[in-house]
Protein backbone atom coordinates (compact mmCIF):
# COMPACT_ATOMS: atom_id res chain seq x y z
CA UNK A 1 0.00 0.00 0.00
CA UNK A 2 1.31 3.48 -0.79
CA UNK A 3 2.23 6.05 1.85
CA UNK A 4 1.08 9.66 1.75
CA UNK A 5 1.84 12.74 3.82
CA UNK A 6 -1.40 14.13 5.22
CA UNK A 7 -2.23 17.51 6.69
CA UNK A 8 -3.92 16.22 9.83
CA UNK A 9 -2.60 12.71 10.48
CA UNK A 10 1.07 12.71 9.51
CA UNK A 11 2.36 10.05 7.15
CA UNK A 12 -0.23 7.35 6.49
CA UNK A 13 -0.33 4.09 4.60
CA UNK A 14 -3.49 4.20 2.53
CA UNK A 15 -5.20 1.32 0.80
CA UNK A 16 -5.58 1.69 -2.98
CA UNK A 17 -9.34 1.24 -2.58
CA UNK A 18 -9.46 4.52 -0.62
CA UNK A 19 -8.00 6.52 -3.50
CA UNK A 20 -10.38 8.50 -5.69
CA UNK A 21 -9.73 10.29 -8.96
CA UNK A 22 -11.47 13.58 -9.79
CA UNK A 23 -10.67 13.88 -13.51
CA UNK A 24 -11.71 17.55 -13.63
CA UNK A 25 -10.32 18.55 -10.24
CA UNK A 26 -12.49 20.73 -8.00
CA UNK A 27 -13.35 24.42 -8.49
CA UNK A 28 -10.51 26.37 -6.93
CA UNK A 29 -8.26 23.28 -6.98
CA UNK A 30 -8.31 22.25 -10.63
CA UNK A 31 -4.78 20.81 -10.48
CA UNK A 32 -5.59 18.26 -7.77
CA UNK A 33 -7.03 15.12 -9.31
CA UNK A 34 -6.34 12.36 -6.77
CA UNK A 35 -7.57 12.26 -3.21
CA UNK A 36 -7.46 9.74 -0.40
CA UNK A 37 -10.59 9.14 1.66
CA UNK A 38 -9.58 8.93 5.31
CA UNK A 39 -12.20 8.06 7.92
CA UNK A 40 -10.60 7.72 11.38
CA UNK A 41 -12.91 6.09 13.94
CA UNK A 42 -12.27 8.90 16.42
CA UNK A 43 -13.58 11.44 13.91
CA UNK A 44 -16.65 9.52 12.73
CA UNK A 45 -18.82 10.40 10.90
CA UNK A 46 -16.39 12.89 9.36
CA UNK A 47 -14.46 11.86 6.26
CA UNK A 48 -11.26 13.61 5.22
CA UNK A 49 -10.40 14.08 1.56
CA UNK A 50 -6.66 14.45 1.44
CA UNK A 51 -4.93 15.38 -1.82
CA UNK A 52 -2.31 12.76 -2.64
CA UNK A 53 -0.23 15.36 -4.49
CA UNK A 54 0.51 17.53 -1.45
CA UNK A 55 -0.66 18.01 2.14
CA UNK A 56 -2.84 20.90 0.96
CA UNK A 57 -5.72 20.80 0.22
CA UNK A 58 -7.42 18.54 2.70
CA UNK A 59 -11.20 18.78 2.93
CA UNK A 60 -13.54 17.60 5.64
CA UNK A 61 -16.83 16.11 4.54
CA UNK A 62 -19.95 14.38 5.79
CA UNK A 63 -22.28 12.00 3.98
CA UNK A 64 -25.05 14.20 2.62
CA UNK A 65 -27.76 11.99 4.11
CA UNK A 66 -26.24 12.61 7.54
CA UNK A 67 -26.88 16.31 7.07
CA UNK A 68 -30.11 16.26 5.10
CA UNK A 69 -31.96 12.94 4.84
CA UNK A 70 -33.73 12.70 1.50
CA UNK A 71 -31.29 15.02 -0.25
CA UNK A 72 -32.25 15.32 -3.89
CA UNK A 73 -29.08 14.44 -5.82
CA UNK A 74 -28.62 16.18 -9.17
CA UNK A 75 -26.03 15.24 -11.77
CA UNK A 76 -25.11 17.62 -14.57
CA UNK A 77 -24.55 16.81 -18.23
CA UNK A 78 -21.37 14.76 -18.47
CA UNK A 79 -21.19 13.88 -14.76
CA UNK A 80 -22.40 10.31 -15.30
CA UNK A 81 -19.77 9.79 -18.01
CA UNK A 82 -17.07 11.21 -15.72
CA UNK A 83 -18.10 8.82 -12.93
CA UNK A 84 -17.60 5.97 -15.35
CA UNK A 85 -20.02 3.44 -13.95
CA UNK A 86 -23.70 2.63 -13.66
CA UNK A 87 -25.56 5.39 -11.88
CA UNK A 88 -27.58 3.79 -9.12
CA UNK A 89 -27.90 4.92 -5.54
CA UNK A 90 -25.96 2.04 -3.89
CA UNK A 91 -22.98 2.71 -6.18
CA UNK A 92 -22.67 6.36 -5.27
CA UNK A 93 -21.13 7.95 -2.20
CA UNK A 94 -22.41 11.49 -1.84
CA UNK A 95 -20.44 13.79 0.46
CA UNK A 96 -20.86 17.43 1.38
CA UNK A 97 -17.73 19.41 2.13
CA UNK A 98 -18.04 21.24 5.38
CA UNK A 99 -16.51 24.55 6.33
CA UNK A 100 -15.58 25.02 9.98
CA UNK A 101 -14.46 28.53 10.83
CA UNK A 102 -13.02 29.99 14.01
CA UNK A 103 -16.43 31.34 14.96
CA UNK A 104 -20.00 30.87 13.90
CA UNK A 105 -21.80 27.73 12.84
CA UNK A 106 -20.12 25.23 10.55
CA UNK A 107 -21.62 25.11 7.08
CA UNK A 108 -22.02 22.43 4.45
CA UNK A 109 -21.87 22.77 0.69
CA UNK A 110 -25.15 21.21 -0.42
CA UNK A 111 -25.06 23.10 -3.73
CA UNK A 112 -22.11 21.10 -5.01
CA UNK A 113 -21.74 17.73 -3.26
CA UNK A 114 -18.88 15.40 -4.06
CA UNK A 115 -20.26 12.34 -5.81
CA UNK A 116 -17.95 9.32 -5.82
CA UNK A 117 -18.58 6.08 -7.67
CA UNK A 118 -17.71 3.24 -5.32
CA UNK A 119 -16.64 0.87 -8.11
CA UNK A 120 -14.84 3.09 -10.63
CA UNK A 121 -13.40 5.19 -7.75
CA UNK A 122 -13.94 8.31 -9.81
CA UNK A 123 -15.54 11.44 -8.50
CA UNK A 124 -17.08 14.70 -9.54
CA UNK A 125 -18.31 17.80 -7.75
CA UNK A 126 -21.90 17.84 -8.96
CA UNK A 127 -22.82 21.51 -8.89
CA UNK A 128 -26.56 22.09 -9.20
CA UNK A 129 -27.79 24.66 -11.66
CA UNK A 130 -31.13 25.16 -9.93
CA UNK A 131 -29.66 26.65 -6.72
CA UNK A 132 -32.09 24.46 -4.72
CA UNK A 133 -29.55 24.15 -1.93
CA UNK A 134 -26.90 26.49 -0.54
CA UNK A 135 -23.11 26.26 -0.78
CA UNK A 136 -23.05 27.51 2.85
CA UNK A 137 -25.93 25.69 4.50
CA UNK A 138 -25.71 25.91 8.32
CA UNK A 139 -24.83 22.52 9.73
CA UNK A 140 -27.68 21.53 12.02
CA UNK A 141 -27.43 18.66 14.48
CA UNK A 142 -29.27 15.53 13.44
CA UNK A 143 -32.54 15.31 15.30
CA UNK A 144 -32.42 13.10 18.35
CA UNK A 145 -34.84 10.18 18.31
CA UNK A 146 -37.97 10.89 20.29
CA UNK A 147 -38.58 9.00 23.50
CA UNK A 148 -41.91 7.22 23.75
Amino acid sequence: MPFFDTRDFGRLEIDETALVEFPHGLPGFEDHHRFALIAPDECAPLIFLQSTQSTHPCFIALPVDTILPGYDLWLGPGDAETLGGPIDTPSLLCLAMICIQDQGPATANLLGPLVIHRHSRRGVQAIREDLKYSARAPLASPEAPECS
Partner: protein, 75 residues
Protein backbone atom coordinates in the same frame (compact mmCIF):
# COMPACT_ATOMS: atom_id res chain seq x y z
CA UNK B 1 -28.27 46.53 -10.70
CA UNK B 2 -28.20 47.82 -14.24
CA UNK B 3 -31.03 46.28 -16.28
CA UNK B 4 -30.84 46.15 -20.09
CA UNK B 5 -33.41 44.58 -22.43
CA UNK B 6 -31.92 42.68 -25.38
CA UNK B 7 -33.39 40.43 -28.06
CA UNK B 8 -31.73 37.35 -29.61
CA UNK B 9 -28.95 38.51 -31.90
CA UNK B 10 -28.37 41.69 -29.92
CA UNK B 11 -25.32 42.16 -27.72
CA UNK B 12 -23.68 44.40 -25.18
CA UNK B 13 -20.17 45.16 -23.97
CA UNK B 14 -18.78 44.89 -20.44
CA UNK B 15 -15.77 47.15 -20.46
CA UNK B 16 -13.89 47.49 -23.74
CA UNK B 17 -13.15 43.83 -24.43
CA UNK B 18 -15.95 41.63 -23.15
CA UNK B 19 -18.89 41.20 -25.53
CA UNK B 20 -22.02 39.32 -24.48
CA UNK B 21 -24.55 38.29 -27.13
CA UNK B 22 -28.01 36.84 -26.59
CA UNK B 23 -28.01 33.81 -28.89
CA UNK B 24 -31.47 32.46 -28.16
CA UNK B 25 -34.29 32.41 -25.65
CA UNK B 26 -36.08 29.10 -25.14
CA UNK B 27 -38.71 28.99 -22.44
CA UNK B 28 -37.04 30.05 -19.19
CA UNK B 29 -33.51 29.59 -20.56
CA UNK B 30 -31.36 32.24 -22.21
CA UNK B 31 -28.34 31.11 -24.25
CA UNK B 32 -25.51 33.64 -24.12
CA UNK B 33 -22.36 33.87 -26.21
CA UNK B 34 -19.40 35.61 -24.57
CA UNK B 35 -16.30 36.91 -26.28
CA UNK B 36 -13.55 37.86 -23.83
CA UNK B 37 -9.75 37.84 -23.56
CA UNK B 38 -8.38 34.49 -22.34
CA UNK B 39 -7.24 36.12 -19.11
CA UNK B 40 -10.81 36.94 -18.13
CA UNK B 41 -12.35 34.24 -15.95
CA UNK B 42 -16.00 33.51 -16.68
CA UNK B 43 -17.85 31.36 -14.18
CA UNK B 44 -21.46 30.42 -13.75
CA UNK B 45 -22.80 31.81 -10.46
CA UNK B 46 -23.13 28.38 -8.86
CA UNK B 47 -19.58 27.37 -9.87
CA UNK B 48 -18.20 30.56 -8.36
CA UNK B 49 -20.14 29.94 -5.13
CA UNK B 50 -18.71 26.41 -5.02
CA UNK B 51 -15.19 27.65 -5.75
CA UNK B 52 -15.42 30.13 -2.85
CA UNK B 53 -16.86 27.44 -0.56
CA UNK B 54 -14.07 25.02 -1.53
CA UNK B 55 -11.37 27.59 -0.79
CA UNK B 56 -12.92 28.29 2.62
CA UNK B 57 -13.35 24.57 3.37
CA UNK B 58 -9.67 23.88 2.68
CA UNK B 59 -8.49 26.11 5.53
CA UNK B 60 -6.96 24.45 8.56
CA UNK B 61 -9.57 23.86 11.25
CA UNK B 62 -8.83 24.48 14.93
CA UNK B 63 -8.97 21.13 16.76
CA UNK B 64 -11.53 22.30 19.32
CA UNK B 65 -13.89 23.39 16.54
CA UNK B 66 -13.45 20.05 14.79
CA UNK B 67 -14.23 18.21 18.04
CA UNK B 68 -17.36 20.32 18.47
CA UNK B 69 -18.66 19.24 15.05
CA UNK B 70 -17.84 15.59 15.74
CA UNK B 71 -19.73 15.88 19.05
CA UNK B 72 -22.65 17.50 17.25
CA UNK B 73 -23.10 14.39 15.10
CA UNK B 74 -22.46 11.80 17.80
CA UNK B 75 -25.28 12.92 20.08
Amino acid sequence: MLVIRRRPGESLYVGAEVRVEVLSVEGSQVKLGIEAPRAVTILRDEVRATQQANLAAARLVPRHRLDAVIGQFRR
